[in-house]
């Protein structure tokens, strides 16, 4: 066969499968990867430590070591003030695992392998996020159980309590989308582990999680009061302990939706480029 003949080769025209079939396969792929990610999590002692044991240590630390020195004016005292905050902080920090796992998969060529397979492009990220949702639910449940053991009580009834827990998981998932972007953009497990997530510290500690914002110096209050983690924590506290819900509810919704709207496309772009 000569080169001129080859140049006239006409590629096959292959129609893409119908949208419904693609959707069905996409859901199947997402489910497979969710199971896969959860299995990996269960087999990795470091992940378990970070998502269960460390948060429990935080509860005990703040409840019994720092708590006595932090005056708050909520019914039931500091432990009731602390729990919504620490649930939110834990959910935010659980997103660490998302960034590390994605960077590792990228580095090891697992993501290249997936991208060269006939599976839904969105499945890797969606599978990751659904596994994270399951992981976050476990973490939040453990924290609240430990909270109950050390004196925490919901003050506002079961309905709002459940909504608070759901809100915590949604906050965690939202921050997972940021972490997914960070992990895919930095591409290196070790760098992600050492400095890829420093932004989580000001976001969770310079907030209303552990102390009333009014105890901070004025210039810091301006940030602490208006940043999204505080706004969500204020709403969670209102749900757990009672108080006005509406203002923080819509502010939380706008913030969370905004973060997702920015970082999901960024993460998808990094995933596409990853080769």
């Amino acid at each position: 066969m000569s080169t001129t003949e080859l140049s006239e080769l006409v590629a096959l025209d292959i129609p893409s499968p119908p949208a419904l079939e693609r959707l069905r396969l996409g859901i199947a792929d997402t489910a497979t990867l969710t199971r896969r990610d959860l299995l990996i999590w269960l087999r990795n002692p470091a992940f378990i430590f970070f998502t269960i044991i460390q948060p429990v240590m935080f509860v005990l630390l703040f409840r019994y070591v720092f708590g006595g020195a932090i005056p708050v004016s909520v019914p039931g005292g500091y432990v009731n003030f602390l729990m919504p905050g620490i649930v939110a902080q834990t959910a935010a920090f659980a997103s660490f695992g998302t960034a590390i796992a994605l960077a590792r998969q990228l580095q090891k060529g697992v993501i290249d392998r997936f991208r060269a397979m006939p599976m839904a492009r969105s499945a890797v990220l969606l599978g990751r996020l659904s596994a994270d949702a399951a992981r976050l639910t476990v973490t939040v449940a453990v924290i609240v159980a430990v909270g109950y053991a050390v004196g925490f009580r919901f003050q506002n009834g079961a309905g709002p309590a459940v909504i608070m827990l759901v809100l915590a998981v949604v906050l965690g998932l939202t921050i997972c989308t940021v972490s997914a972007y960070v992990g895919l953009a930095i591409k290196d497990e070790e760098s992600v582990g050492s400095f890829g997530l420093v932004w989580l510290f000001p976001l969770t500690f310079v907030s209303a999680a552990f102390v009333p914002v009014s105890s901070m110096p004025g210039w810091l209050q301006a940030f602490a009061k208006n940043q999204p983690v505080t706004i969500v924590i204020d709403e969670m506290r209102a749900l757990a302990l009672g108080g006005p819900l509406a203002l923080h509810a819509w502010q939380s919704a706008v913030w969370l939706a905004g973060i997702v709207a920015v970082f999901v496309p960024l993460a998808v772009r990094e995933y596409r480029r990853a080769g």
Partner: protein, 345 residues
């Protein structure tokens, strides 16, 4: 036993891989500057070149991981830009990294791959079992891969790329970093694989590897194809036999080179690091060999590994590019090749 590979893609009669004028740049770096490749079904193409030659970029374009800037690439008639999903249906890829999840067992890695290829339960369980057996991983099948050796990980990685029984397989440097014994094991596995009719594109920086496995070889350097043909054709380009020896006392390397210079058609090639001298002796092999022994002996120069051999791909590479073939193991594959040929003669 595993069903024959390459059973799919019967809708296409043309070459399994067809690449025409493909360019790819990363900013200022021209990774590929217009390459053409044709691989007929069932053949093994060895894509040979030093680090940074553009081999991996070519594989990434053919496996839809990267889009070419210009040019056309078809895999089993499917255009990598227009129908990437259809390309992914017929290919298997084992990249440079071993893309194995260390927390999962070998069997779990394979079965999850089967799920992602939408195989039904029976098929994916059966296929995982067959692949584990074929790649000698039955004993380790239910242990997390964290504890696998480098050779086992490479074999599992290759097995993962075969779960869908692809008709075109891409292996990017399948043995880089393996010890010689594991490398031989991989070669054995790959040879069996292609005897079943799979089309294989393999990149390597080991000339010996291309020689062992590939039916056709394309040499690329700086993003361009600089030679193509069978190993035999490429070697005949260099022209004739080679006499080679190593000088024991390095101080006498220059004396030795001077003594035999006129026996070589071209300026003798001297590798100072290993004190190896290589002469091009055309078809006067035996005469040149005897003459070399005589002259060195007269000067009392001690040598090691003195011998005549047919040219290796290393020689080909050197004569094509004017620079050494591989940074990874200078001289090593050349010496091994020489020993093997001597043993056969």
């Amino acid at each position: 036993m595993l069903a024959p590979l390459g059973a799919r893609a019967r809708d296409w009669e043309g070459p399994a891989i067809f690449v025409e004028g493909v360019h790819k740049s990363f900013g200022e770096v021209h990774a590929l500057s217009g390459i053409d490749l044709v691989v007929e079904r069932g053949r093994v193409l060895g894509l040979l070149g030093p680090n940074g030659a553009g081999k991996t970029t070519a594989v990434k374009i053919l496996t839809t991981l990267l889009a070419p800037d210009r040019g056309r690439a078809l895999v089993e008639g499917r255009d990598v830009v227009r129908s990437p999903a259809a390309v992914r249906e017929v290919i298997g890829l084992a990249g440079q990294a071993t893309a194995v999840q260390e927390e999962l067992t070998g069997r779990e890695n394979l079965e999850i791959m089967g799920r992602l290829y939408h195989l039904d339960r029976d098929t994916r369980v059966r296929r995982a079992g067959e692949l584990l057996e074929r790649f000698g991983l039955v004993e380790a099948a239910d242990r997390p891969t964290k504890g696998y050796s480098g050779g086992m990980l490479r074999r599992l990685d290759l097995a993962l790329s075969l779960v869908s029984l692809p008709s075109v397989l891409f292996l990017d440097e399948p043995t880089t970093g393996l010890d010689p014994r594991s490398r031989n094991g991989m070669w054995q596995v790959i040879r069996e694989l292609v005897s079943g009719g799979t089309t294989l594109l393999l990149t390597t920086q080991y000339l010996e590897e291309a020689d062992e496995l590939a039916s056709e070889i394309v040499v690329i350097d700086h993003g361009l194809v600089i030679a193509a043909g069978t190993a035999r054709e490429l070697k005949s380009r260099v022209g004739g036999d080679v006499v080679e020896f190593q000088v024991v006392e390095r101080a006498r390397l220059q004396d030795a080179t001077g003594a035999v210079r006129e026996l070589s058609d071209a300026e003798p090639l001297v590798d100072r690091e290993t004190a190896t001298v290589t002469l091009r002796v055309g078809d006067r092999g035996s005469h040149a060999l005897v003459e070399t022994v005589r002259r060195l002996d007269a000067l009392g120069i001690h040598t090691e590994g003195l011998g005549m051999r047919h040219p290796s791909l290393d020689d080909v590479f050197l004569s094509l590019t004017g620079h050494g073939a591989e940074e990874a193991q200078p001289g090593a594959s050349r010496r091994r090749g020489a020993e093997r040929l001597r043993a056969q003669e």
